[in-house]
Amino acid sequence: MTADFAILIGSAATEPASPVALRVLPPESWARLAAGDATARFLGLWIARDRVHALFEHNGSPLFLASPLVERRYAALSPGWTLAAWFERLAHDLTGAIANNAADTRPAIRHGVAGTDAAWPRFIETPGEGFYQIGQGPVSGLIATPAHRRFTLDGARIARLEHRLGYAHRGILALMRGKSPRAAARFAARIAGGATVAHALAFARAAEAASGTTAPPRAETLRAIMLNIERITSDLSALAATAEAAGHLRRATVLGRVRAEIAAALALVFGHRLMMDLVVPGGLAADARPDEFPRLTAALAAASRAVRGIGRVSVRRDLRGAAPLALARARSAINLAATARDALAALPEGIIAHPLPAATGMAIGAAASATGMIHHWVMLEAGQIADVFVIDPATRLLPALEAASVGMNFDEFALLSEIYGISFGAVDL
């Protein structure tokens, strides 16, 4: 962080929040954030309570900033932090707040609304003769994903990739407001089905911290196990889809089957194949059945064996640009399986939930999904959710995928897209 940046933040007024205080900057100081800073990492931006909020990571800890809106306007961060562009567009569509000098003012989730952009869909023009564009989606692929991709091609190579999103916008944040944390947890669990535990956990941790409580030790241990297993299943899904895209159909089927066997074991241990609705603020909604642990550990061991084949030279060659990420996900699955097995063997006894007091407070909760850190910001007033925001790693992966696609052909891009495993529902909210 530059000295100027540090002075800006150091002089800000603070308000209590967990795990770090909220620093409230005057609008003229906020405007200077737009210059960017190489040492901090942008995570998310949202509007709440007539303020613009931003979450950064700096020196391994969160940096939580806010500034009052002036006539429903604030200084855009997107000129210095490219990842902020999506959040500024989303904030405009959700609240009407305008980001001054924003790098991108296209609608995010409000398709074809009069006054926002009459020409929607609008993509960046092709740079000249010889370039052409191809659209794909929102109904494409054998199992469809709700997004539209627009490829600008230079011959057979991708010159630019843009996404049009908003097809999976369900209004999740509005549904969570005004509810008790326990009732809102059902929505947190349905932001992304492949990261239902991670989202429910980030939300529960935020609600617990805002209420000044914690989950009991048995619940904490089980949550960690569930989170690890969910990450393994997500790794297996991504690896199976990537193997299929590479034409390794047998390997894809084997990976899919070990994933399905974990799901069957999870149904026995936790009562749900995806562990949906189990993590709730205060602890867990149901206890695990230890007599079914052997089937789960056997399924995890089978998964560890199945992903080892990704390391073979012949497989790596066919995975092309997706190979480094595929290897990382395979290694991660092996490590997580070992950790989960050990944790299952050392599960503490005791209760699985604490009651959540009807508190007032503000907190950020985080949980690691297979694709990165998920953050939930929760503001409680007398035990009700006054406001909430959700940051999924897909908001960071999508621009990374767009950048990485440049120079690839369609086949190689398909591999990369599968190993990224982006959840569009978690971006659209």
Partner: protein, 173 residues
């Protein structure tokens, strides 16, 4: 907590259902049931279980379902997720591109009636709000067994109109 009504179906049960579905498809269509999937605003949970259905093959017995990219080649439009305003037109255009006889299956609680998202401003509700639905498969998400059982029921209930392959005509003696 939404308990899975079918937590521990033995693989053999699913396999028997899949074999029946494959046999029905062979008898009625001369091939597997071709499915065009549309995600109308799903969290991705239903898609995980669809992927599980796709790997249910076991040697000679196949799940009896193939997923197809091409709406024209599809018998079934399988819709998952709550019907969002933004995806309604794309879903309707996909159905319009399908050749009759065609069926619409709404899979998962969101597609059945909007599920937990019922009443939210940017959603229309269940799949019935945008398309004529022939079959509902409830569950959040439905298990592979429920998905296959649902598609089997659809195929068996519509035995006559689905028939496309001409009956073999025996030469007269």
């Amino acid at each position: 907590m939404n308990p899975d009504p079918d937590p521990a179906t033995p693989d053999s049960t699913v396999r028997v259902l899949a074999e029946r579905l494959a046999a029905s498809g062979q008898a009625l269509l001369g091939r597997s049931l071709a499915v065009r999937h549309v995600d109308a605003g799903s969290c991705g949970g239903c898609e995980i279980e669809l992927a599980a259905v796709r790997v249910l093959r076991d040697g000679l017995s196949r799940s009896g379902i193939t997923f197809t990219d091409d709406p024209r080649a599809a018998d079934v439009l399988l819709i998952t997720g709550v019907a969002t305003t933004n995806l309604a037109e794309a879903a309707q255009r996909t159905l319009a591109a399908m050749a009759p006889p065609r069926f619409v299956v709404a899979m998962g609680d969101c597609a059945v009636d909007g599920g937990v998202f019922k009443g939210s401003a940017p959603v229309l509700g269940g799949a019935e709000r945008i398309l004529p639905v022939d079959l509902l498969i409830a569950g959040c998400p439905p298990t592979p067994r429920q998905i296959i059982a649902g598609l089997l029921a659809l195929l068996e209930a519509n035995a006559a109109p689905v028939r496309r392959t001409p009956r073999r005509i025996e030469p007269k003696a």
